[in-house]
């Protein structure tokens, strides 16, 4: 069971602002999803390795070789604020 408080906590961590109605609605919907997991839990998974990825590939690696990147001007083109070569962000302090 997901409480409205749980939803508000997660929303805060995700920097989402929810109305009371939304919180209630998500609490209900998320509870149903969690309930479904309870249903899944009834399957016997004895001896089955937990899976962290749907594709069975492993070891997708690259060699340690430098590749040229895009120029700074291109990469910073969509930054809302900048200060010289820096991205500018709201004051960080608290």
């Amino acid at each position: 069971m997901i409480s409205i408080k749980d939803v508000q906590h997660v929303a805060k961590l995700a920097r989402l602002s929810l109305t009371e109605d939304e919180s209630r609605q998500y609490a209900e919907q998320l509870s149903r999803i969690i309930d479904y997991f309870d249903e899944l839990k009834s399957v016997d998974t004895e001896g089955v390795e937990p899976m962290s990825h749907p594709i069975a590939a492993v070891n997708v690696l690259r060699e340690d070789e430098v590749c040229p990147s895009l120029p700074r001007e291109v990469l910073m083109a969509n930054a809302p604020l900048r200060d010289g070569n820096f991205f500018r962000v709201p004051k960080i302090g608290e």
Binding site: H53, A57, V58, N59, V66, S69, N85, F87, K91
Partner: protein, 481 residues
């Protein structure tokens, strides 16, 4: 109630790869801000990280050097939090299945246990606009050159018992990382960063007390001082009957104190989950064995060999292996047939004193292994006295040069001819009639005075054995009783 400190250390070691951990941007020093960035390390939508094979290899290499078990399978997880230096809103790290498990480092003959080591990416760097620093700035600026730099976080067990031991553990860990060439180990430049967890408990109690985490220490000395200060702070609180609050504290070097960091709200709710953009990693035992074969001799092994094969004391072996540079230099000198004991004495004595005084690292001096071999040869053949050799060593460290040429050009060759030494000794005796009389009446210690005066007159170049032989002949007999 007697209390004991329990200390655990977390070290972030920046791995010396050419490229970042999940993209092909260079890790080399950047000339300007946001120059070594790409859509991946800027966290732009739709991009995919790809793991750097070298970073994994360095992880295995470190694990082997730290006596860890290398995981057969491991994977990456997302650590979710918002901060302006973290472009994706999460850090890719390893949470449940790290690459290295367990292990130990030998510190003063004791095995300090390691909990784990895991690969992760670094964050960008925040610069606070305005001269007065963090609290007076109007806005902050971000440079992402450091974003996604490869890090290995090495976490010790809470197995250290004193600030001194913590410092020694760090020194040895950094030394090992430098020997195996996976990390520069530079604290000031941030390629080797350390946080400390400190708690107290009554002696004999098994359960751990409430810990605090200390950050912002930029030198080994700072780590030692910060832990000491934290132990004192916690001791005072406990003695007053107060509780320790679990918190993160920042070390202030100038004040010599820690201060609580303003707590980031719910900062520890990271909601880790497996990183779907990266495939799991399986590390074959064959790969591990290949890496093992490429490992150089480690400091502990060298110390052991210096004692058993070269007959050095454990103290001398420890000093010589303290840095890879010094130890490699020692090895190179031996390869040029310099005698181990003599080289060890020069390096541990005068050379170390010189480094301390001039505040230099060994690699910043001009001394070569060939110099060292030549110097030892010059002393053992009697070409220069050991007093002169010491001066020569300091000159070579400061200026460099060639031993034979320096002896020649500075006229430093040892005088072993009896003729000139005898003449000088005669002068010394002639101008010191009262000392001579005192000597004859029983003050035999005055022999050193005559020796010293003669050596001074000969500018330290006289062969001491010849002076002693001549003194035997020239000094008057000493009155009995």
């Amino acid at each position: 109630m007697a209390l004991e400190a329990v200390i655990g250390l977390e070290v972030h070691a920046q791995l010396k790869t050419n490229t970042k951990i999940f993209c092909s941007c260079p890790t080399a020093f950047a000339a300007s801000e946001n120059e070594q960035v790409c859509p991946v390390c800027l966290g732009m939508p739709g991009v995919l990280p790809v793991l750097n094979k070298k970073a994994v290899e360095f992880g295995i290499r470190t694990g082997l050097a730290l006596n860890s078990k290398i995981a057969e399978t491991c994977r990456f997880d997302r650590k979710n939090y918002f901060y302006a230096d973290l472009p994706k809103g999460y850090q890719i790290s390893q949470y449940e299945k790290p690459i290295c498990l367990g292990g130990y480092i030998e510190v003063n003959g004791r095995k300090v246990q390691i909990h784990r080591a895991h690969l992760e990416e670094d964050a960008g760097k925040l610069v606070h606009a305005g001269a007065a620093g963090l609290h007076c700035s109007d806005y902050s600026k971000v440079d992402f050159n450091r974003s996604s730099m490869p890090l290995l976080e090495i976490v010790s067990e809470p197995d250290l018992t004193s600030p001194e031991e913590a410092r020694l553990y760090l020194t040895e860990l950094r030394n090992i990382l430098r020997y195996i060439e996976v990390c520069d180990g530079n604290l000031e430049e941030g390629s080797f960063r350390c946080d400390a967890n400190v708690s107290l408990r009554p002696v004999g109690q098994k359960e751990l007390g409430t810990k605090t985490e200390i950050k912002n220490m930029n030198s080994f000395r700072a780590v030692q001082r910060a832990i000491q200060s934290e132990i004192e702070r916690q001791t005072a609180l406990i003695e007053k009957g107060e509780r320790i609050v679990q918190e993160t504290r920042l070390w202030n070097e100038a004040e010599g104190k820690t201060h609580p960091m303003r707590s980031k709200e719910e900062a520890h709710d990271y909601r880790y989950f497996p990183e779907p953009d990266l495939m799991p990693l399986t590390i074959s035992r064959q790969w591990v064995e290949e890496v093992r074969k490429s490992l150089p001799e480690l400091p502990a092994q060298r110390r052991q060999r210096y004692q058993s094969d070269l007959g050095l004391s454990s103290e001398d072996a420890a000093v010589l292996t303290e840095t890879k540079e010094l130890s490699d230099f020692f090895e190179s000198s031996l390869a040029l047939e310099a005698p181990a004991k003599a080289v060890a004495n020069w390096l541990i004595g005068p050379a170390t004193a010189y480094l301390k005084e001039s505040k230099k690292e060994f690699c910043q001096t001009a001394l070569t292994p060939q110099n060292m071999a030549d110097l030892c040869q010059a002393v053992s053949s009697g070409k220069v006295s050991s007093t002169i050799a010491k001066q020569l060593l300091l000159d070579l460290m400061a200026e460099g040069g060639d031993v034979a040429k320096l002896i020649e050009s500075k006229g430093l060759a040892q005088v072993s001819d009896e003729g000139p030494i005898k003449a000088i000794l005669q002068e010394v005796l002639d101008k010191s009639p009262s000392q001579l009389a005192d000597y004859a009446s029983g003050k035999v210690k005055l022999r050193q005075y005559f020796f010293g005066e003669a050596m001074k007159a000969l500018k330290g170049k006289a062969n001491p054995q010849v002076i002693n032989k001549l003194l035997d002949e020239m000094l008057p007999p000493v009155a009995a009783g």
